[in-house]
């Protein structure tokens, strides 16, 4: 049986860990509330942009766009969005595993733009070509999304890579998060042999759907990347909150078990001492 001193030390240690996890839980909960508010506006932005581009691309004439044509390069660029820090359960590893599975399936040379130090280190350790890494510890900013979109567009137009995917976690509910891979470039258009759509009652694109795509895709990319970063940030804080909340609960259970064992040991020592005193007194009588 461990000594009383040893048990006492463990209780103190677990109690201080519990204080940290509880503080982290509260911080994550407050950040989650802020991110959820941001998510509702980000969804309005990126889902609106996605709907516009999907509609324009559904016209067979859209295949004339520079963003719809396949590029000569067989390399693939991945924007992988995870966290800068750990202590958020399986959040980082599930994104990394999905990215790895997609890369293995496509068997092409990859260029990774990592958002989040954990994404960069996860893929770097597995021998993937991480060409740039950005921090995600501060609140998502549109400027960061613009910088990443610019980098991707430059690389795509220069023929550095022929396809662009974003790997991120979509927020469904506080307890349900869905890691996803979304293709950003080239824009999927209707096949050449698709029947021409009647322009009556349809959305008009001036001068043509292909020209609209040419000028709209840079803004679309910024909005999509920003949307994915915000979705991922909400998931990160929700995952951290759940993980810290369960760590706090576990710490409480350990404290209760240790306190019980401490009290039992103390009681048995007292009982033993009484026994010794009584038997000593009896021996004297």
């Amino acid at each position: 049986m461990p000594s009383l001193k040893h048990v006492k030390r463990r209780i103190t240690s677990v109690r201080s860990t519990k204080q940290i996890t509880k503080a982290m839980d509260l911080v994550a909960a407050s950040k989650l509330a802020r991110m959820k508010a941001l998510l509702s506006s980000a969804r309005g932005l990126y889902k609106g942009a996605d709907a516009m581009i999907t509609d324009a691309a559904s016209f067979p004439q859209a295949c004339g766009s520079v963003y719809a044509a396949s590029r000569p390069s067989d390399k693939i660029a991945y924007i992988v969005i995870a966290s800068d820090r750990g202590l958020c359960g399986g959040y980082n590893s599930s994104v990394g595993k999905l990215a790895m599975a997609h890369m293995q399936e496509h068997r092409a040379q990859e260029q990774v733009i990592a958002l989040g130090a954990r994404a960069a280190s996860f893929l770097d350790r597995r021998g993937k070509n991480v060409c740039s890494s950005h921090s995600t510890s501060s609140a998502p900013s549109y400027e960061q999304a613009q910088a990443v979109a610019r980098r991707v567009l430059e690389g795509y137009m220069a023929g550095e890579f022929g396809e662009v995917y974003v790997v991120f976690t979509r927020f469904l509910t506080t307890v349900t998060h869905q890691p996803e891979v979304v293709k950003l470039l080239p824009i999927e258009t209707a096949p050449d042999n698709a029947p021409l759509r009647s322009p009556v009652g349809e959305v008009r694109y001036e001068p043509s759907p292909a020209d609209f795509l040419d000028s709209a895709v840079p803004a679309y990319l910024e909005m999509m990347i920003y949307g994915c970063v915000v979705e991922a940030a909400v998931c990160e804080h929700a995952a951290r909150m759940m993980s810290m909340s369960s760590a706090t609960k576990n710490a409480q259970e350990i404290i209760e078990t240790l306190t019980l064992s401490y009290n039992r040991s103390r009681q048995s020592m007292i009982t033993q001492e009484i026994n010794e005193i009584v038997s000593g007194a009896n021996a004297l009588n």
Binding site: S40, S41, G44, A49, G201, P207, F212, Y226
Partner: protein
């Protein structure tokens, strides 16, 4: 007097909905040129350039909003503008915009690669829109 016809205008930015009101007319700077929207406009989509969105709200009040790129869609009774940044004239600091313009002009005089030059041109255009916008600070 009969009230003039109006439509819904919604400007969405990363920070949330910037404008949501009934408007009689909106003129915006599309990449293909200025584009005016009146009630009953046919459904259309456009990519936006950096420029000033001129809003005539229901009731005749005129306002200007700086819109720095984005997308616009007219569908049914609603014009939706999606943009990364939108600013009212009161949110613009004219001195900062002028400083930005001067910095961009200095950088553009230096010989730099294509990507940097393009970026500086965008920033210069942004600063010029801000300077123009700041002239309407009293309007709001």
């Amino acid at each position: 007097m009969a009230e003039k016809k109006a439509f819904n205008l919604k400007v969405i930015t990363p920070g949330g909905v910037k404008v949501e009101e009934r408007a009689e007319m909106v003129i915006m700077r599309a990449t293909t040129g200025d584009m005016g929207v009146l009630p009953g406009h046919e459904p259309c989509s456009a990519a936006l350039d950096q420029g000033i969105l001129r809003i005539t709200a229901a009731g005749g009040r005129q306002r200007r909003l700086g819109v720095f790129g984005g997308l616009a869609k007219v569908e049914g009774d609603t014009l939706t503008v999606l943009t990364g940044l939108a600013q009212w004239p009161s949110e613009v600091e004219p001195e900062l915009a002028q400083a930005e313009r001067d910095e961009c002009l200095v950088r553009l005089r230096e010989e730099r690669d294509h990507a940097h030059t393009q970026r500086d041109k965008e920033l210069l255009n942004q600063a010029l829109v801000r300077i123009e916008l700041s002239e309407f600070r009293d309007e709001a």
